[in-house]
């Protein structure tokens, strides 16, 4: 017979710090207060609402596409954004936009999740494929170039695909959801590479904006750790797909990830603090943006003769897949300025799904 109180699980059934009515279910990352499930939902959604409002991410009446990968971040973003849109009457027209890179066993499965999300959240879905846009699937690209530089293609093709999808859906903005861990990783990696300038390039680390041809692409950091995103998704029974991209990030990023996870265990708010430090690193001088022209080949915006996607495609089609990646010679754009070379280099070492602004 067990005595009352010997089981720490039941005896420590502490009450929620916020409502004082229900049993606490977890600790808040920021304050370590013990809160119940219901209050966790409130706090979680309210923090995202505050970020949207204070950054003036949307204007009433706008058409917004949520970049939907089927993963945790985008599924939570789609769910929370459609919830907040109703709760606070943002008056946004929301859509789901997915890019099918053509990765067997990864993207085909995750797209099934997105198709279910379309029904679950009642948001219209548009899927664009690399095959239709560029004539190449990611599987075919990797077969040709190997695993080393494939994320360059992800980055360049992916962003352009989103923008073209935005044109088809006639939306003003495309928003991609990111978790705090990924942003903290990016901040750390930029510091480790000595690339502080990159941190200062975006208007804000948490809402990096990229003005593309047809739309503005917003990388919106939900400022929630992976841990809390997963908890929210689990409690809310959200349907997401959880297998890593098989052409996945490099080893260096992997180390940064482990390191951050170890830090988090010692001090849960370490992740949020790294992001805060990153924000404070921003240099206040205005960056000179490269002059924007149009690509001679496809008419897309480009600071060079050809846009990055066309350079990469030319390489693939000519059987010179390293064209446009890093320090190659004989570029279609002729002499490269240092900005371009530097840009190419940092794109090269980026993992997919990272904020690239």
């Amino acid at each position: 017979m067990q005595e009352v109180g010997t089981n720490p699980k039941r005896s420590s059934g502490r009450m929620c710090c916020i409502c004082n009515q229900r049993r606490a279910a977890l600790k808040r990352t920021k304050t370590l207060e013990q809160i119940c499930k219901e209050c966790f939902y409130d706090v979680f959604e309210e923090e995202i609402h505050q970020a949207i409002v204070s950054n003036q991410l949307f204007k009433p009446g706008q058409r917004i596409a949520i970049c939907a990968s089927g993963g945790k971040d985008s599924t939570v973003l789609a769910y929370v954004l459609s919830t907040l849109n109703k709760r606070y009457n943002y008056r946004l027209d929301l859509f789901l936009l997915s890019v099918d890179e053509g990765i067997t066993g990864y993207r085909d499965d995750s797209l099934e999740t997105v198709k279910r999300n379309e029904i679950q959240y009642g948001l219209p879905l548009k899927i664009l494929s690399y095959k239709d846009l560029y004539g190449w699937t990611m599987d075919e690209i990797v077969k040709m170039i190997g695993l080393k530089n494939n994320c360059t293609f992800c980055g360049v093709f992916g962003r352009q695909a989103l923008d073209r999808g935005a044109a088809l859906l006639e939306v003003d903005k495309v928003v991609t959801g990111h978790n705090a861990d990924d942003i903290a990783e990016t901040v750390l990696l930029n510091i480790l590479r000595g690339d502080i300038a990159r941190l200062s390039r975006c208007t804000s680390i948490t809402t990096g904006q990229f003005i593309a041809l047809f739309s503005t692409i917003i990388g919106f950091c939900l400022l929630q750790t992976l841990d809390r995103l997963a908890t929210y998704a689990y409690f809310k029974k959200l349907d997401y797909f959880s297998t890593e991209c098989i052409y996945s990030p490099n080893a260096y990023r992997g180390f940064a990830r482990e390191f951050i996870k170890d830090l988090e265990r010692l001090r849960p708010r370490a992740i949020l603090d790294i992001i805060k430090s990153g924000e404070n690193f921003r240099i206040s001088t205005t960056m000179k943006m490269p002059e924007q022209g149009t690509c001679e080949r496809c008419g897309y915006i480009s600071s060079q003769k050809w846009c990055k996607a066309c350079v990469l495609l030319e390489g693939l089609n000519r059987g010179l897949p390293t064209l446009g990646i890093g320090r190659n010679r004989g570029s279609v754009n002729g002499r490269k300025n240092s900005e371009e070379t530097k840009g190419g280099k940092s794109i090269e070492s980026k993992g997919c799904g990272t904020l690239d602004f």
Partner: protein, 118 residues
């Protein structure tokens, strides 16, 4: 089948070994380490005749009996790997003492990897 059931009943009645019935759920990709099955209904014996079972014992039981591949994706040292979320009856195990959390009959323990996918 019939024989094992008899054995089980004998143990149960004699009270020498208390089998604790638990529901374990694996998510976020961890299910891939145990035959792609998400929910496991299991009977776990407390260690060395102890009269209670704590999470520490359960973890080593899971590692021996359920994890079929890449145990390093699940554990690091004697606890779960950073990035694995543990919920006991829908409550983060941080609140119940982590490895020292005692388990009771019919508890539901959830393990979710938070590392996969974006």
């Amino acid at each position: 089948m019939a024989r094992s059931l008899q054995c089980f009943q004998w143990f149960w009645v004699s009270g020498k070994t208390l089998n604790m019935q638990l529901t374990l759920e694996f998510g976020g990709g961890l299910e891939l380490l145990c035959d792609s099955k998400k929910i496991h209904s299991v009977n776990v014996e407390p260690q060395n005749g102890a009269d209670k079972l704590i999470m520490k014992d359960l973890l080593s039981w899971v590692r021996t009996n359920l994890i079929k591949e890449r145990p390093e994706m699940f554990m690091k040292g004697d606890t779960v790997r950073p990035g694995v979320l543990v919920l006991v009856n829908d409550c983060d195990w941080e609140l119940s003492g982590q490895l020292n959390t005692s388990l009771e009959e019919k508890d539901v323990v959830v393990f979710i990897s938070t590392l996969h996918g974006g």
